[in-house]
Symmetry: C2
Subunit: 240 residues, 2 copies
């Protein structure tokens, strides 16, 4: 499996994907997020989870089309068209071999000057949902382990830097929970005010400081949580 | 589904279960953890996830036996015996109707003066694993959403009060992630030094303070996380 999370906040976009590839029990490393488009103002990101073969063919068809989408809606539509072409060609053979036609995608960016940054989650069937103020993040792959911290903390007003930190923490929670998700991590941020993309690439040791800092401070915070009702009384009894 | 977590720390035991019961799309409330045994020194807890009918019959057989286990090993063995009797009687009919024979259990306590407190996870087949210093918690049901905070923070040295708070936070993370887990919460703690059980029962509003406190402080902590490598530079560029 994979862990990819996309975030849409007021200041821009965040896209994070893990880099572990699993084929049976064989592990290797792959880049799962990419920036499409050529010029700085025509870029958008694409991240996938599911069957690598479906991803590679869908991307090949998308690139072959040479289409430069003028809007994010056009971008997601072009992706869905390529995906459905692959579905027509490959689904039957996969299902005959008991594979599921499985490819989820997160697509995000800002293409036209006058459009808001947008973030989409595309299902294997080629239908999609969009992030908004009430749904500031969308995730694909193994999404359960890293969900709580985003549910609790991430809002549309969260600063872009903090959103990127939350994406990392959410990934780190997932990596701790499941062997299918791991380093390296690819991170993209898009700052709306200056229309600028930044790319980061982290290995395990690059984020060891952040990992240990978080564990230590989280432990202190849990200790400091206001007592559960009845708990204080108990402690007094116990220390008599 | 269900969320039950048991913890074995130096100071004693913690057992937490959610109280939501799902039958198809119908929700109701049930108690999923119970203290077995009669006298204060003969008590141990039992929590289940899986098919309610299997739980109720297994418990009925366990109680009917009238057996007062002298040790925790005897307790878990008696439970497994009752479970396997139910398996012999009911598995075939369930599987014929495409149900799985599914009943997981967490069993914990301290029965003999000279035995350490113990915590077991029993699989539907009647085999089990035990918690130890390196595995201070075991969970059954929907275990993924609430796993990260325990992976990061809970160790054998964690104080009993903090362990109980972590059990709550882990439940709260699960409840936020899945509609199958919800209030009320039943919590049991066992303090080894005084060999004393305490029972707590919380509804949503009882823990509203803790929920909001945690969200607020977690957000501040995420903001304070040391910058990811390269991030500080970026901020400077952005604010130019």
């Amino acid at each position: 499996m994979t862990y990819c999370v996309g975030m849409l906040v007021r200041q821009g976009l965040v896209a994070l994907s893990d880099g572990r590839l699993t084929s049976g029990s064989q592990l290797s490393v792959a880049r799962k997020n990419i920036l499409m488009g050529t010029g700085p103002a025509s870029r958008f990101f694409l991240m996938n989870s599911g069957l690598r073969s479906l991803r590679d063919k869908t991307l090949a068809y998308l690139r072959q089309s040479g289409f430069q989408p003028p809007t994010m809606l056009a971008a997601v539509t072009a992706y869905c068209k390529a995906l459905r072409r692959v579905m027509e060609e490959d689904r039957e053979a996969l299902e005959a071999a008991n594979f599921k036609f499985n490819l989820h995608a997160l697509i995000g960016g800002q293409l036209a000057e006058d459009e808001h940054p947008a973030l989409f989650l595309v299902y294997p069937e080629g239908n999609w949902i969009a992030a908004d103020e009430r749904t500031p993040f969308l995730a694909i792959g193994t999404t359960s382990y890293g969900k709580a911290i985003l549910d609790r903390v991430l809002v549309s007003e969260t600063h872009l830097e903090t959103a990127a930190k939350l994406a990392y923490l959410s990934f780190d929670n997932t990596r701790l929970g499941t062997a299918d998700v791991g380093f390296p991590v690819d991170l993209l941020t898009y700052r709306r005010a200056i229309r600028q993309w930044e790319e980061f690439h982290f290995n395990h040791d690059d984020l060891a400081l952040q990992h240990h800092w978080w564990n230590q401070h989280l432990a202190k915070l849990a200790e400091a949580l206001p007592d559960l009702p009845g708990q204080r009384e108990l402690e007094r009894v116990a220390s008599c």
